[in-house]
């Protein structure tokens, strides 16, 4: 079924009786050409592009809960391509280009909104670091504008310019940055993959990975054994546990990141704003809620919930930066489990086991990466060679020290990225 305005009109006039399921609910087959473990954003987009770009249609996505139930459904929905280190730059640039065509490609409105992202800086040193970043973005072919204080004031007049603890010196403006409706991304990819023949199997937990003579042969699940010669492990948040089924110990630590949304309010924040000194970023959803977040809770966790000190810190940063939001009321907070890697950048790589591929370590940048991650992961699984835009995401970079992508510069401490 193709979605269109006309379809809505005709359905509306005929009692909305013609709407069909967006995806099937199939029983798992005994064998697939490829299995993607993980029905989150990355797993679904991997399956979608396996089918669409590489013609692999005998593919299953195995999800232990419901699709889109992981971090794709619990984030602050920011989409941007503002990285500066080689390896990251080209990847996120590619991802943003995919975002820009995603609705047409999926025939599903993910509400990708290029409302512009402004990263504020608060010292000359930060300005110069952002200049390096902005120049790298332009070198990559993306957009960036360096705003001075007055330039920021012009578009964000409600920030505290006069009395802030860390005065606003300016901002790096990324006009193509923005947001998207997070759940819709998962659903859109799910529907697209299903339409191309991919089996989306929910409530199917992988309990073992079958390996014979160094080759993957299939997986054990709560719904029986399933054979496949290619298995992609796309389970950010649980990467260490699933990789352990294949005897691997990953450079990953799991941490909780909280996010918050307020009650619905009439439009007040038109951009995505990031406050460097306070680890605070905010935008307003189309429904009117202010959506914002901060730093990790800093301790290893699988609990999908946070604690008060970081929540308070985030609110404090909000009050420091934009005291005009003080009377917005926080409605809901949630926590996502982040695959934190030693350099803050992800892994998309083959493993030492033939046919087993790894996609992990997205830290808290995974949402915007969904399209390119699936694109590149599908390429890797289908062709056995890394995609040129994800060639830097090697697992062995930590051991060799070659091509580390530590954008934060905080080093091999997982929770500091």
């Amino acid at each position: 079924m193709r979605f269109s305005a006309l379809k809505i009109l005709t359905e509306g006039l005929t009692g909305n009786k013609g709407w069909k399921p967006h995806w099937r609910d199939p029983e798992p087959k005994a064998e697939y050409d490829a299995i993607v473990i993980g029905g989150g954003g990355h797993g679904l987009s991997t399956a979608y592009y396996l089918a669409k770009n590489h013609g692999l249609r005998n593919v299953a996505v195995l999800e232990k809960g419901y699709i889109g139930g992981g971090n794709v459904g619990r984030n602050t929905t920011i989409v941007r391509a503002n990285y500066f280190l080689p390896g990251n730059s080209e990847f996120y640039s590619h991802s943003l280009k995919l975002w820009e065509g995603l609705e047409e490609d999926l025939n599903y409105n993910v509400m990708h909104s290029q409302r512009g992202l402004i990263n504020l800086f608060h010292s000359d040193g930060q300005r110069d670091a952002f200049a390096r970043r902005g120049n790298a973005m332009i070198n990559q072919g993306d957009d960036a504008i360096l705003l001075d204080r007055d330039g920021v004031r012009e578009i964000l007049p409600y920030l505290d310019f006069d009395n802030a603890r860390f005065p606003i010196y300016g901002g790096l403006y990324h006009p193509r940055g923005g947001t998207a409706r997070h759940d819709a991304v998962a659903w859109g990819y799910a529907r697209g993959a299903d339409q191309r023949g991919v089996d989306l199997i929910q409530n199917c937990e992988v309990t073992g990975i079958d390996i014979e003579n160094g080759r993957v042969t299939g997986v054990q699940t709560t719904r029986g054994a399933i054979r496949a010669k290619k298995v992609g492990l796309v389970v950010a948040g649980r990467s260490s546990q699933v990789a352990a089924m294949a005897g691997m110990r990953l450079p990953i630590e799991s941490h909780v990141l909280q996010a918050f949304v307020t009650e619905g309010l009439k439009p007040v924040i038109d951009h995505v704003i990031s406050f460097g000194m306070g680890h605070f970023y905010i935008s307003q959803s189309d429904k009117g809620g202010l959506v914002f977040g901060g730093d990790l809770d800093f301790y290893a966790s699988y609990a999908q919930r946070g604690n008060l000190p970081m929540a308070e810190h985030v609110m404090e940063a909000g009050m420091a930066l934009m005291p005009a939001i003080g009377k917005a009321r926080v409605l809901r907070s949630w926590g996502g489990i982040m695959d934190m890697s030693p350099d803050g950048s992800p892994v998309i790589d083959a493993t030492h086991i033939d046919g087993l591929f790894l996609n992990c370590g997205w830290c808290y940048g995974g949402f915007k990466a969904v399209p390119a991650s699936g694109w590149c992961m599908a390429h890797l699984m289908a062709t056995n060679t890394p995609h040129e835009h994800a060639a830097g995401f090697r697992l062995d970079r930590f051991e060799t020290g070659r091509g580390l992508m530590d954008e934060e510069g905080t080093g091999a401490q997982h929770n500091l990225h």
Binding site: R165, A320, R402, G403
Partner: protein, 975 residues
């Protein structure tokens, strides 16, 4: 309509208030909601999506419809629940989400287009053409959405945060909570009793029943009075526990001064962090609606709320009321209405075989529709014998009660389904240390609430090691709770589940049909339960509808996750104290006042403030000042406060060995009275920090760190000391704050220093990198001959109490020698001239090799970061490595953050050769100089490279040079 009665309003204290500009009367003790109802105001808001007319539905914080805005200008406070807003004299409230007025709302047109606006419709459209999303569709949607509006002005009210600790936190002061608090307090426990109402007592204040021999509300008042008199009890009315967190920590929001017209310096709200060894959840239960056609009209209200308005506020919600329910609560409501003299037009009971002894028109059946656009006019009742229409201006509905178990589920636990009451109840142990009691635990009679409250308190006392006394539980109503589940009445039309987000039974069914069968999918696809009431009024009903649509039981279908906060919390409360300068502590050097007095702009350096430059008369730009100050140091003598650098006292027999382990180079070999530059790595082989360390005695060193990394280094050193090398006998103490330290730099520095010292020094006794104790006017001080400018220089440290005085003295004397104070701008130029690095260069991604300091990595010993620094990827010649840059093209300017390219290559990522980290105009050399990182850097000295700064529109060619621009032999510092 106000009626007679002896509720909890004070008729001797009339109040004036306004709603949408019209003036009304109320009484002290009213909420805005009760006062509006007393004035026969039924239409109070518009729904989110269809802009349907809405009225007051509840009497608590769960209210979905009656959200109003209060206050003008910066005080404008949106989305306040009229049901919890205490009336005060002069209160001005406004309705929301309507234009041009509440009565005539243009977007009510949406309601007519409802067939096209079903669940998830926006995922299926608004996609063409692509550019229209940001330009047309999204702005349109955003304007239509949202509820209240922020003022756009900075907050001007006071908010605060506080901590509290107790043995037992009792959440809710209804019968169970009061009984629990009383039992625990009498046994000597430290008790906090929190309730979101201004008056404690819970449902006892809303009902007519008796506890013991007295009216329930009188019993409650008596218990509260007893508790108030006890030292070990803290009563927290107007306080909602908002979240349960790990380790017995609870968040709470107190409305401190929202109920007074002129609060003065009292905070509007206080956000509490309460640590409790044990907690009892006695938060009661919330009544749930029933979904039937057009069940959202103004005048349709929860039956329990009707009783509360009648009994507590002496307000009748209508003149002719229909009561509808599937449990005994409906009968109680009809009885209370009759007792209050209000006409009961019909009592409708959905239970099979239901009957009543009340003298009212009784129907065994269900409500299947309503009429009345802006207020209820009639209801349709479906019975075995057909459909009958009954005129009424109010409808009281009870679909049963849901225990307020939210807090018990905040740690991710899932509740149990209790079929007997057709509701979820908390599973014990979901939050360690927290037990539910009373209605929150599914106990729906007052007698059981009292018993459970006492029992929970006794269990908590036993856990706390306190001796529980025998509680004196008064006699109370103990009726059975007889319910037949009824979630939605079948039929055509729209039946609301989520009143705020306009989610109907049809929407849930559509979601299920479109494969959104998981409860989380249904919630997210329809937005069910995501409005300000967080599904308190609708989640269980929606879940039941979904279960029905998917052929599963309710427990099989499961619940969504309950997440904090229980009620919305203002950012201003939870972020209190951070507005303005309060976000982080401010650190002031001892020279701060003198610097400000000298006109220096102060800039942030971490938490510190440091002078940017010291403007002289006639100077109009910072560059003029900076150039002059650089000249002070190169030509005479400059003074700079360097106290912000971290200073760590390291003592003990193994101090030298300890330093050898944390620095790349050797310190155990340093002579007493000497100072050495040291480089510190992280264990991953990258540079952590640098600085000089002096050996003050055989077992005594003084380390300096950069300003930025002082805390980080201290933490790191303590980790090494305690965690890696507990074998070493060494002690660390920060002395950053003890000493005010000033650089005295320039050819005349010794002259200046000797003018201060009680015993002058000379080059032999105090050579470059020497250090030692000195006295100034009898005061013990420390002198270090170190230089961050490349000049003959000292740093002199005195106890901080003398810092202000010494700085003024140094500045005056430097000025007399043709020099003066210099700020961060000059300091930066001076260090770039010498190729000295800062965190602009050691930004966390660079190695000793990258900055040309591989020679400082000792081969003779192990040290932190040694092994990892030798990974092949960190040793490659092709890495971006430190160089100096001089502009050679027509544009004689460098900019930090620019990238470097080979002369003929396009400036694209594939050709990137490096980047510029630090730049400055060198007045000494007469041109810009810069530091940067370049692939193969040191191998390319003398090459020409192109610098491109797209952002600032600067492009130039540069000569790659040695990073030491000035006095590369270092003679000036030694001389």
């Amino acid at each position: 309509m106000r009626i007679d009665g002896n509720g909890l309003i004070d008729r001797a204290k009339p109040l004036r208030f306004s709603f949408d500009g019209h003036a009304y009367d109320g009484y002290h003790g009213d909420t805005l909601a009760s006062a509006l109802l007393a004035n026969d105001i039924r239409l109070v808001g518009r729904s989110f999506k269809y802009h349907r007319p809405r009225g007051i539905m509840t009497a608590g914080s769960e209210e979905p419809n009656a959200l109003v805005t209060v206050g003008q200008g910066a005080a404008q406070d949106p989305n306040l629940r009229a049901t919890t807003l205490e009336l005060y004299d002069g209160l001005e409230a406004r309705s929301q989400n309507r234009w041009p007025s509440l009565d005539w709302d243009l977007l009510a047109l949406n309601d007519l287009a409802a067939p096209f606006f079903g669940a998830g419709f926006y995922y299926k459209t608004f996609m063409w053409p692509r550019a229209f999303w940001e330009k047309l569709y999204e702005p349109m949607i955003r304007r239509a959405a949202g509820l209240g509006a922020l003022s756009g002005q900075a907050n001007a009210d006071r908010y605060e945060k506080a901590f509290a600790h107790c043995d037992l936190l009792v959440i809710g002061a209804g019968p169970a909570g009061l009984m629990a608090a009383l039992t625990a307090a009498r046994a000597g426990a430290d008790v906090i009793l929190a309730d979101e109402d201004a008056v404690m007592g819970g449902r006892l204040n809303a009902e007519t029943e008796e506890v013991g021999e007295e009216a329930g509300r009188d019993w409650a008042a008596g218990v509260v009075a007893e508790l108030r008199a006890m030292d070990n009890v803290r009563l927290m009315p107007r306080t909602t526990i908002t979240g349960a967190y790990d380790g017995g920590t609870y968040g709470a929001l107190e409305r401190v001064a929202m109920h007074v017209p002129n609060p003065g310096p009292a905070p509007r709200e206080c956000f509490w962090r309460i640590t409790a060894r044990r907690a009892i959840l006695a938060a009661g239960a919330l009544e749930r609606p029933v979904a039937f056609r057009d069940n959202d009209r103004p005048g349709i209200m929860m039956a329990g709320a009707v009783r509360a308005y009648l009994n507590r506020w002496n307000v009748a919600p209508g003149r002719s009321v229909v009561v509808f329910g599937n449990n005994d609560g409906a009968h109680r409501t009809a009885a209370d209405l009759l007792a209050a003299g209000v006409n009961v037009a019909a009592l409708v009971d959905a239970r099979l075989g239901a009957a009543t002894t009340l003298d009212v028109p009784f129907y065994a059946g269900q409500i299947c529709g309503t009429e009345g656009r802006k207020g209820l006019e009639a209801v349709s009742i479906a019975t075995m014998s057909g459909i009958e229409k009954v005129q009424a201006d109010a409808l009281a509905v009870s679909g049963g009660w849901n225990p307020s178990l939210h807090l018990a589920c905040h740690m991710g636990g899932r509740p149990d389904w209790a079929p007997g009451i057709a509701a979820f109840v908390p599973r014990p142990g979901m939050v360690p240390g927290l037990a539910a009691a009373g209605a929150a635990n599914g106990a729906f009679s007052t007698a059981r609430c009292l018993a459970e409250g006492a029992g929970a308190a006794q269990a908590a006392l036993a856990d706390l090691g306190l001796k529980p006394g025998q509680p004196d539980i008064p006699r109370a109503e103990d009726g059975a709770y007889d319910i037949t589940p009824l979630w939605s009445v079948p039929g055509k039309g729209r039946a609301w589940l989520d009143f705020q987000n306009d989610v109907t039974v049809k929407d849930v069914n559509l979601a299920a049909r479109e494969a959104y069968r998981s409860v989380e999918h249904m919630k997210r696809y329809t937005t069910q339960g995501m409005a300000p009431d967080q599904g308190k009024n609708s989640n269980v009903n929606a879940l039941a509808v979904l279960a029905d649509a998917t052929g599963r039981t309710i427990p099989e279908t499961g619940t969504t996750t309950y997440r904090p906060p229980y009620v919305p919390v203002s950012i201003a409360a939870m972020g209190a104290g951070a507005q303005g300068k309060g976000f982080a502590p401010e650190r002031f050097t001892t020279s701060h006042k003198a610097s400000v007095a000298a006109g220096a702009p102060m800039i942030e350096a971490g938490l510190w403030y440091r002078p940017s430059y010291f403007p002289a008369p006639g100077e109009t730009t910072w560059r003029q000042s900076c150039d002059r100050e650089v000249g002070f140091v190169r030509g005479a003598v400059g003074i700079c406060d360097v106290s912000t650098l971290g200073k760590i006292d390291i003592q003990g027999p193994d101090a030298g060995a300890f330093l050898d382990f944390v620095y790349t180079n050797m310190f155990s070999t340093l002579k007493v009275g000497r100072t050495r530059y040291g480089l510190m790595l992280r264990e991953d082989g990258h540079v952590l920090d640098d600085g000089t360390t002096a050996r003050l005695g055989e077992n005594h060193y003084l380390m300096t760190t950069t300003t930025a990394a002082a805390g980080l280094v201290m933490r790191h050193l303590e980790f090494v000391r305690q965690g890696l090398r507990p074998d070493l006998d060494v002690q660390l103490v920060s002395v950053t704050e003890q000493w005010a330290q000033f650089a005295v730099a320039g050819p005349k520095s010794r002259e200046l220093v000797n003018g201060l010292l009680d015993t002058p020094i000379d080059n032999e006794g105090f050579p470059f990198m020497g250090c030692g104790a000195v006295t100034l006017g009898g005061i013990d001080a420390r002198l270090f001959r170190i230089s961050f400018s490349g000049e003959h220089a000292y740093e002199i440290a005195v106890p901080a109490r003398y810092g202000d005085s010494l700085f003024r003295t140094l500045k005056t004397r430097a000025e007399a020698l043709g020099g003066g104070a210099y700020g961060m701008e000059a300091l930066n130029v001076l260090r770039i001239e010498k190729g000295f690095i800062t965190h602009a260069e050691i930004h966390g991604r660079t190695t000793a090799f990258d900055i040309g300091m591989q020679g400082m990595m000792s081969r003779k010993k192990d040290f932190i970061g040694k092994t990892a620094s030798q990974r092949p990827g960190l040793m490659e010649e092709s890495r971006e490595r430190l160089v100096g840059l001089k502009p050679t093209g027509d544009v004689r300017q460098l900019t930090a953050g620019a990238h470097l390219f080979n002369a003929d290559d396009p400036a694209i990522r594939e050709n990137d050769q490096g980047y510029v980290t630090s730049v400055g105009f060198s007045p000494t050399l007469g041109h810009y100089i810069g530091l940067g990182f370049l692939k193969h850097g040191p191998e390319r000295i003398g090459e020409t490279i192109r610098m491109v700064d797209h952002l600032r529109g600067v492009e130039t060619t540069c000569e790659v040079c040695n990073p030491v621009f000035f006095d590369p032999e270092g003679g000036r510092a030694r001389g």
